[in-house]
Structures are given as structure tokens and as C-alpha cells.
């Protein structure tokens, strides 16, 4: 068996063992996102997952992918790390739960703000999240915004579970940021 074949088989077995339904590594353009979402919609429509859970899962994935494109500034990371490092997205299914995991390099300057936001969201119950969502929605912001600050609140509301995350330092300036949302079926 060639080295490539055995690597492909190892990867295949690993993904099978971890019940990875979908995974992608590369630049997440709007076109790529749309294609991933199209596949997801298609496979969901043939599943026995109820419509509300399907929509929640879809919504979480949209926000996770949007988050990556906002926090992953390819050129800056490439400059600091001296190589390209595309983000990763994975969807897996285990024990009646879907797990949505994204991983991408972020500048260490972004870490504190991200931790603060996730910790705040994790500290709130459904009512608290709805109130936080409404307050954020009511905030004035310029019309050229590409981000309303609602994404992570929306993920937490749709997930109904605490978000798990980790920042693993890679260089003095860059960390690898992994966030996982879980939704029960």
C-alpha cells in the first residue's frame, strides 16, 4: 500500500470512528459555505430529525462559519506564522447529539474579548440569553456593519448547551481557537 493510500485509509477510519458527518478545511468563502449548507440541508431532509432541531443545527452552523470568516484574517495569520493555515469545520454525531466544531488561528490580541463573550453567554440561562439578545438587537450601530454581535448569543440559544472552547498557543502572537457547540436531537 502506498503512503498516500494508507494515510487516506487512516483518515477515513478516524473520521468513521469519531462519527464525523461532515468536515472541511480551507478558506470559508460565502460560496464554500453555501455549498456546505446545501449538502447539510439535503442530508437533513432525508433524516428523521425534527424540523425545529434541523433549523437550529443549520442556524448554529451558519453562525459558526460566519464567525470563522470574521475572526480568521488570512493575510495577517499568514504573515505572523510564515505559512497559510486554513480554518477547519467539523460536524459529528454521537449519542443523540450533534457537535459542531470550528477551529482557526486567531491573533492573541483577540483572545480576551472572545473569552469574555463566551463566558458571559455560558453564564446565562435561556431567559438571560433572550434578554441579552434583545439588548444587543436594540443597540444603535452603523449601517455598514457586517456583524451585529448577536452570533454567539444565537448559537447559545439554539444549542441549549454551554459552549466549550480552548485557545492553544501556537506562537507568541497566535493561538489556535477551537469552539464546540452541542445540540441534542
Amino acid at each position: 500500500m502506498s503512503k498516500q493510500t494508507s494515510e487516506a485509509l487512516e483518515l477515513h477510519d478516524y473520521m468513521n470512528e469519531k462519527n464525523i458527518v461532515m468536515s472541511f478545511m480551507g478558506e470559508l468563502t460565502h460560496q464554500v459555505t453555501t455549498s456546505l449548507l446545501r449538502n447539510l440541508k439535503d442530508s437533513m431532509s432525508h433524516s428523521n430529525v425534527d424540523l425545529l432541531t434541523q433549523k437550529r443545527l443549520y442556524g448554529i452552523i451558519v453562525e459558526c462559519l460566519d464567525n470563522i470568516s470574521k475572526h480568521w484574517t488570512a493575510m495577517d495569520i499568514q504573515k505572523v506564522m510564515g505559512r497559510s493555515s486554513p480554518p477547519i469545520f467539523m460536524l459529528s454525531k454521537r449519542e443523540n447529539c450533534y457537535y459542531i466544531i470550528t477551529g482557526n488561528h486567531v491573533s492573541n490580541e483577540q483572545v480576551d474579548a472572545l473569552v469574555t463573550k463566551i463566558e458571559l453567554v455560558n453564564s446565562l440561562d435561556k431567559k438571560g440569553l433572550q434578554d441579552f439578545y434583545r439588548v444587543t438587537l436594540a443597540k444603535e450601530s452603523p449601517l455598514d456593519r457586517d456583524n451585529a454581535g448577536l452570533g454567539i448569543i444565537d448559537i447559545a440559544l439554539k444549542s441549549g448547551n454551554k459552549l466549550e472552547y480552548e485557545f492553544r498557543p501556537v506562537t507568541p502572537a497566535v493561538s489556535f481557537y477551537v469552539v464546540q457547540a452541542k445540540i441534542s436531537i
Binding site: H30, T34, R38, D50, L51, L52, K55, R56, Y58, G59, V62, E63, D66, Q130, Y133, R134, L137, A138, S141, L143, D144, R145, D146, N147, A148, L150, G151, I153, D154, L157, K158
Partner: protein
């Protein structure tokens, strides 16, 4: 005033703002590549329409009821903020005494879509919103 019609795509909603036919509707999925570029023309159109209503009211008195239909399957969080802006613009018109209301449609199985509409409505002062449940297809 010219209508504003935008055909739907896989990621952007259908928009029909047509005063001559008295049809005002946003429907489908909303996660445009550039959300601002998509929604700002809608907000600008509504601002212009408010001037038309002012002129009409001044000349002919209060006009017929204008109903704005919101029929979203899904919208992302960035779109949510712009949908709020649209509703705020309509609310401003309602506060100024124009005869308008909104209808928020949701699939019976999709309680989140209903709750989103309720969250929006809590931030409005005057615009009446009717919630319309659609039976499962």
C-alpha cells in the same frame, strides 16, 4: 413610486415592495454575502415611501391599510439586525399615524421563528404585528 423587487437566491430573500399592487413582502432565507449592501436599499426605499405616504395623506387623507408580510424560513444574526431596522422604520411610520401593520409568518413546528418575531415586537412602540401560524407542509 417605483416598486422594489428583488428575486430570491439560495441565500437572500425575495423582496416585493409594490405600492401600486399594495404588496409588501420579504420572504425566504436571509444570509446575504454582504448584508448591508442587500438591506440598505430596502431601508432607503422605505424612507422614500414614507415621504409618498405623507404627500398622499396631505392630499387625499388617510389611505388604505398597508400590510408588510414577513415570511422568513431562516435569517442569520447579521440579517436579524437589519430586519429590526426595517421594522423600526415601519414603526416610525406607524407612530406618525400612517395606516400600516405587519404580519409575521412562521411554520407551526418552528417555535424559534415565532419567538424571534416576539422579540422584535417587544422593541416596537406602535406598529401592530399579527402572528400567522402556517400549518406544516
Amino acid at each position: 413610486m417605483n416598486p422594489l423587487i428583488i428575486d430570491p437566491s439560495e441565500f437572500s430573500p425575495k423582496v416585493v415592495l409594490d405600492p401600486t399592487k399594495n404588496i409588501f413582502e420579504l420572504s425566504g432565507e436571509s444570509r446575504p454575502e454582504n448584508t448591508s449592501k442587500f438591506y440598505v436599499p430596502i431601508l432607503q426605499w422605505l424612507e422614500q415611501y414614507q415621504s409618498v405616504l405623507y404627500w398622499e395623506k396631505d392630499k387625499f387623507g388617510q389611505g388604505a391599510l398597508r400590510t408588510f408580510e414577513f415570511k422568513f424560513d431562516y435569517f442569520n444574526s447579521t440579517s436579524a439586525k437589519f430586519i429590526m431596522d426595517v421594522l423600526m422604520q415601519l414603526d416610525k411610520m406607524a407612530q406618525e399615524g400612517y395606516n400600516i401593520n405587519a404580519r409575521w409568518h412562521y411554520d407551526k413546528r418552528d417555535e424559534d421563528m415565532k419567538e424571534s418575531g416576539e422579540e422584535f415586537s417587544k422593541l416596537l412602540k406602535k406598529l401592530p404585528i399579527e402572528f400567522v401560524e402556517i400549518a406544516a407542509a
